[in-house]
């Protein structure tokens, strides 16, 4: 199945597939085994994998990738409105439109590198966001966001008589259908939407792995370390960077399309700079340039976002109820700023800490710890040996 992949990569791939497919079981004990959150893991995983191809591999820091996410969502919802609730045409259009957008924006932005590139992409994204809110209201439905209506044409679908908006489906398989099982006091939920996203995530991961290991991927890494040398080695860097930009834009479009599939509406806030910043954060936190990093980062952030934003003062009081009242109130008063609506503050702090202390991200941190343990093990045995002699 994975011809051409090295043995380690084959193991990585198999490990990844098992982890993703067993997600609903593995994550259930952590309170994250329900479809909505699992879908978000998969979708943002795809987004971050794509972003990593541009940032981690090629070294171009884009601050406007949310624009492609938004474009993907709008395209998918329009497909649901006009053509059919089947997800396949919606996804194809999402990817295609995001690709065209990325080609245009990338063509201009990639004329520059470094901070200029970051500022240009940021400006493009803000521009798209402003336009989506103002002039493009006929397409984007402005502040309300683009939603499905009962009287949308949906020309390929049979007339719907149920009186409610139909569910998105994959050739009849409804995305929101879920099979529930009660095991050991936990509810395991197997949701069609999640497995659809999961299969696409696996595909996206596999494709990224192939890109990483290909001559093209090696060129991208070379661009990151020394573009000058590459030019004098007879390689035209611009088409390489543009290709990387378009590919990562299409990943973002795919993620945007999937967001619309699991929840068929699209709003301009998806294109804001904060959303672009979030994917940067996911990639850095996990480890830019690594295979697993971005997926881990996306999962990590979405998981803790979910946990932290649910905690409110009552929950905090319950946690510390055993402490003396004064201390309890003090702790609750401090933690209040970091949970619930304060999640973004925590996120910002985590972001800074990672950039300052762990620029290589979680994957790098884990490898370093592993190495240290291994080395200690070695030196321990070495000293034991010398002591024995």
């Amino acid at each position: 199945m994975f011809g051409n992949l090295q043995k380690n990569d084959r193991l990585l791939m198999i490990f990844f597939i098992i982890m993703v497919l067993a997600g609903p079981i593995i994550l259930a004990p952590f309170g994250a085994g329900y479809p909505d959150l699992l879908q978000r893991f998969a979708i943002f995983g795809i987004f971050a994998i794509g972003f990593n191809i541009l940032f981690g591999l090629t070294g171009y820091l884009s601050f406007g990738h949310a624009a492609f996410l938004g474009v993907g969502s709008y395209s998918a919802v329009w497909m649901f409105k006009l053509l059919t609730m089947n997800v396949v045409p919606a996804l194809l259009l999402s990817v295609a439109v995001a690709g065209v957008f990325a080609l245009l924006i990338g063509y201009v932005s990639l004329r520059r590198s470094g901070i200029y590139f970051s500022i240009l992409t940021l400006a493009f994204a803000q521009m798209s966001y402003n336009l989506a809110y103002s002039v493009l209201t006929p397409i984007t439905n402005g502040e309300t966001g683009l939603q499905l209506n009962l009287n949308d044409p949906r020309i390929l679908d049979a007339a719907d008589t149920s009186g409610s908006i139909p569910s998105t489906n994959f050739f009849g398989l409804a995305m929101n259908s879920t099979a529930k099982f009660d095991v050991l006091g936990m509810t395991l939920q197997f949701n069609v939407g999640f497995y659809f996203c999961a299969l696409i995530l696996i595909g996206a991961f596999y494709l990224a792995l192939r890109i990483f290991r290909s001559p093209f991927g090696m060129m991208l890494r070379a661009i990151k370390t020394n573009q000058n040398r590459l030019n004098y080695t007879g390689l035209n860097t611009r088409p390489y960077t543009l290709a990387a930009f378009v590919i990562s834009g299409m990943y973002a479009g795919l993620a945007g399309g999937l967001m619309a599939i699991t929840d068929p509406l699209a709003g301009a806030e998806r294109m804001q700079w904060t959303a672009s910043g979030e994917v940067v954060l996911m990639t850095i936190l996990g480890g830019a340039g690594t295979m697993m990093g971005p997926v881990l980062g996306a999962g990590f952030i979405k998981y803790f976002e979910n946990i932290f934003s649910k905690i409110n003062d009552n929950v905090l009081h319950a946690w510390f109820s055993l402490l003396p009242d004064g201390l309890e109130n003090l702790l609750v008063g401090i933690l209040h700023f970091f949970v619930g609506k304060g999640w973004h503050l925590t996120l910002g702090i985590v972001f800074m800490l990672v950039v300052i202390f762990l620029p290589g991200g979680l994957v790098d941190g884990a490898t370093r710890i592993m190495k240290r343990i291994m080395n200690r093990g070695k030196s321990d045995s070495a000293s034991a040996k010398s002591a024995a002699e």
């Binding site: 901070i115 400006a123 002039v135 996120l347 972001f351 950039v355």
Partner: protein, 343 residues
């Protein structure tokens, strides 16, 4: 003619804000070589200095006013702000009324301190790291700062009015010989422009006429050489960061009557100010000021109804469009030096 003049005037206040923020960004980039994504947050903190001072002035104690009674016949409890009880009613009310201009004095030490702490505590460690890391860490800092403000002041804009003396508008057209009521201009916007002009003038004079300024300018031109002269430039650059922070903060303080401050105003202005810096030329102070005013005025022209009906939405994107054209045709910007960050 009068319509054109009106648009130019309308563009001045936003242009002033862009120019002040861009000036600080350029100072920091030029001296320290750091791209500061948290600079917008400094502008916002300045604005919230004004909000805070207003709140402090409005702190009150409840006293019983024996001369009046409430509807039950009991003595009336009234809220008397401390400043009124300390300085007398007239002076106290004047102080409350003038809280925005007074906030300038309040904001300068705070902003310099914030800038100093930021530079010594964080930015300093990033001089030798890649630009991407600098962008990311200051971006994270911007999020943290704005979330802290949000936690304390809420998400809604807080009205912070100008002193009564400067409320309302005046007929600028009539003064300079146009027909009456053609160019009506609010007082505060004029004040904002004049204030910005003074601040910009002070910064330039400071750089031009003091030894400190000379070293800083030399450092902007060639950091290594100045380092070789045995001058401790890092120390001076730290202070420069404080000054840049104060400039952004003052821009924020005075902007509050024009637009009630909210926690995300910093980021809104930051993106545009970056564009301004790019258009003006990375590392060029006059370029930053010129481009700030130019783009502010251009934006104001783009929001005229005549223009908007011709090109819908142009007011939303004009600045970005200009930036792209400039970057692609003249990457060094309007007044940037050749070879500086052109790639």
């Amino acid at each position: 003619m009068d319509a054109i003049l009106l648009q130019i005037l309308n563009g001045l206040d936003k242009g002033s804000a862009y120019a002040l923020i861009a000036l600080g960004l350029t100072l920091i980039f030029g001296t320290l070589g750091v791209v500061n994504f948290a600079h917008g947050a400094l502008f916002m903190i300045g604005a919230f200095c004004a909000v805070t001072l207003q709140k402090i002035f409005n702190l009150y104690s409840v006293v019983i006013d024996p001369t009046k009674t409430d509807f039950l016949g009991n003595p009336l409890k009234v809220k008397v702000p401390y400043v009124e009880s300390w300085f007398g009613e007239v002076a106290g009310q004047a102080i409350i009324n003038w809280s925005v201009p007074l906030a300038i004095l309040f904001a300068i030490p705070i902003m310099v301190a914030v800038g100093y702490i930021m530079e010594r505590g964080l930015i300093k460690h990033f001089y030798k790291r890649p630009h991407a890391d600098q962008i990311l860490v200051t971006f994270g800092l911007a999020i943290v700062l704005q979330e802290i403000i949000k936690a304390f002041y809420g998400a809604n804009p807080i009205p912070t009015p100008a002193p009564d003396a400067f409320k309302g508008s005046f007929d600028f057209g009539a003064i300079i010989g146009f027909a009456e009521n053609t160019i009506i201009y609010p007082y505060w916007r004029l004040i904002y422009f004049l204030f910005s002009a003074v601040v910009i003038g002070l910064v330039f004079a400071f750089l031009q006429f003091t030894t400190f300024g000379m070293v800083v300018r030399a450092g902007m031109a060639d950091r290594e050489t100045v380092g070789l002269l045995g001058i401790n430039i890092d120390r001076r650059f730290t202070l420069m960061f404080g000054i840049a922070a104060a400039v952004a903060g003052l821009a924020g303080v005075m902007y509050t009557p024009i637009n009630p401050p909210n926690y995300h105003m910093g980021m809104d202005f930051l993106v545009l100010s970056f564009v301004v810096v790019v258009v003006g030329g990375m590392g060029s102070l006059p370029g930053a000021v010129l481009a700030g005013f130019l783009l502010g005025i251009l934006e104001s022209f783009a929001s005229m109804n005549e223009v908007k009906s011709l090109l819908p939405g142009i007011d939303q994107i004009i600045i970005y469009l200009v930036a792209m054209v400039v970057l692609l045709t003249r990457p060094r910007g309007l007044m940037g030096r050749a070879g500086v960050m052109e790639e």
